[in-house]
Subunit: 182 residues, 6 copies
């Protein structure tokens, strides 16, 4: 039996695909404690990564508490910008996890090379596209609410997510980049 | 009523003083969710900070689950090495907390200057000394087990804490410092 | 009355649009002291950011002293690569400014969220394009001198700006990227 | 004749010794423009470096404007933590300075090795001690006001400098170090 | 006569073009000791930079020892992300080299501005394209082995280079970028 | 048989103790290739770490070439300031070494925990003291030359080592610390 398991995602934003994978992981692999690692925790206010780690933290807790899930932990994980030491960095921040759940091929490869168990996930490939799709719809004034849990809609509305993403999308179009000043 | 409260400590290691403050905070200020921030998360393997954030994470979860406490979250918080932006850094990583609990005068001053509520804690001044005392006793081959919760003793023994701290203490005496090589 | 005001730009290079906005800010908002923050101060020798902060510093001082402007300060501001703490970073480096002048939508949003006054600027949108246009013309051997103040032309010529930008443009075309080696 | 000269200090806080050296530099070496570099700009809220770069910036401007000095520039310079590249770092942030004024032996050695003119200063050795003395007196409830210019006293009082330094001194005595948590 | 010469490349992977340039440098400029600097040493596991510095180190040593070359040194050089201080950074890590050999226009410009001798190389422009071509062929299941020395083929096969590059190429296509999580 | 072995030190400066350990390692453990890792490579111009990585690099090469040793490699290794990921950092920079030779207890513990062979060294404890002693004697105007190889004396004299160390020792006494400015 697995004591600690780790699920890694960026959650920009948390969406129904994430929720289904988490439910499925809990049902299939049954870790006693599930750590939900928020990747790229230092990044926010870009079109690809609009929300802070803290904002994503709140989305996850609200959604999983609504589902009455228990024994999960949410941990922001800043990037180290060096793939070769990333696993070691993650391991130093977390309790001694044994299994890693992720759909990202690089994340899977790095943990496998370091000797971790990285079981197959259902809904493979779904996560990445669904997050991109939510952001695209927000920017394009299309309907996005059916892609995220009810509680996430509330958090996103309170954050003014639509306005933020449109401003960032507009800025990207003018290609003034990710830094300050003009 | 406070939705999210933040308790910040270094937990090198988690000890009875921490446990009493957490119990008291939950009883007195009654935050719905209590975030336990592990300060200086990037530091380990020094005499002052012997344990990794992950090792401290495990100590805290084991101790608080043994106490059947609920609605607490454990979050490693790396230093930014610039006190003037530390509060902003913490705020970006965590859900929107309203109250901060800490015995450290600088931590209190920085959060107060940024407009957070920082209520008084009981057992003021106790935390800092108790952690130092546990490490001192371990290094000196004295009895330290009565200073930490039962579950922490188990984690510390599994980690080989005594041996690690004695090696680090020995190294410090020879003043070869915190860097590698000789 | 505003004691300290902050104008943020990248100034790659300083051009007539910058000069007009600064004149207009001084006339309209009348800060006692105007800080001119050089954004992305750490970046240079790329096609988008060809000049060092020090080279941009000299362009600004030469241009504004030629105009006999006074009570302005020039301050290089390195990026922190985390938008969520950028305002806090800027505030720690500068005297207690009250108003921020910028055309960049993200810069405006971040300062507004942090509670600063961010009044509307005239010539909105002009800054970003004019800098890009100067660099494009230099790379394409077209006439760029009418886009920048007289004193900036002198500084750019002394720096060998045309040659530098053409080399960087050539390098980008071969997509060998922003790092060293081949 | 020197176009740009550079005076480097930490200014924790700005005091009469700094003012006298700056007056003397202007009289003796007569640079057209004097850059006043605030060293260790990223550091604040420690006993040795209590004030942010921005707070020090304000002290310097207030004092020198009171003296009706002109053609000086104030620039925060963050450390790079590598002495061997520090001169190169400073040079990239500033206009092309030719002379460096400093009482710090290492600063002098590094600039000399890099080929800069580093003329002798009057009041040698005074700067370092006077800053330490101001902080010591503040911590010890002794009279410190005669050591700093009149305008600096006002800034320090507005900042609550005495209270801040006493809190930091108290914290240091308990040796809980420079990081957060307890 | 040149005592120490420096050849800078990224070596992703080491290929026949590198080998020919090194042979030619040794024959033409005859440095007593040749330092082979591995640029962007911190980067790996991306499509453009698939191999760690250590993996590239091994490729170079194997190839040059097979050629019975002597008096060469292999040194990983991490980026500093600031072109303006890069030369100073390299100089602090290496013995006092006098000549720099590189095909990269920016590398050449930066060392020339700092006063180093940067002689012309034969096979100009070849290096950059050959590395890109090896990676492209690997990703496209085309034959790449004739582009690299025999010993490099062995190292690449032992590393599972084809599989790694295909995984990274696949990931890039889905544009999930260079960070972790999905 | 060991293909790659790693010997880690700080070499401030290279001394007779280092030379004896290297000779003994080559004789006893017989690695085919010996990597000599220069620890704390980023540090220089402090009393404890007076020499740049490049200066130490030259000392090592001169001494070992004088001894006609072969198949050794010298590699500067910057600190990562996080002991928990240091081994992973070193491994990413170097060919796949199997054995580690070091007298530093922490270095030994970290590599052992990561599964490396770390055999016992002769002259245990000697290295650390001899480096400190050379620096102490230089600062105190005592005779230090018998503690280092002949070739190292030459390098140290060319660097003006005595003068540098005395300046740094004098600066430390005045406790103006490791940062710039006064």
């Amino acid at each position: 039996m697995v004591e600690w398991g780790l699920f890694v995602g960026r959650f920009q934003p948390f969406h129904n695909g994430h929720l289904e994978v988490i439910r499925s992981v809990l049902r299939t692999y049954r870790p006693n404690e599930l750590i939900i690692g928020i990747g790229s925790a230092q990044t926010s206010h870009t079109l690809r990564d609009p929300f802070t780690a803290g904002e994503r933290f709140e989305m996850i807790v609200r959604a999983l508490e609504f589902e009455r899930l228990e024994h999960f932990w949410v941990v922001p994980i800043p990037d180290v910008d060096r793939h070769a030491i990333w696993v070691s960095h993650v391991a130093s921040l977390l309790p001694p996890f044994e299994e890693v759940y992720s759909n990202d091929p690089l994340t899977r490869m790095l943990f496998q090379q370091a000797g971790y168990k990285v079981p197959e996930l259902p809904f493979f490939n779904r996560g990445a596209f669904e997050g991109t799709e939510v952001r695209r719809r927000m920017a394009a004034h299309e309907e996005w609410r059916d892609l995220v849990p009810l509680s996430t809609r509330t958090v996103l509305d309170e954050l003014g997510a639509e306005e933020r993403i449109r401003l960032l999308a507009h800025r990207d179009t003018k290609s003034t980049g990710g830094t300050h000043g003009h």
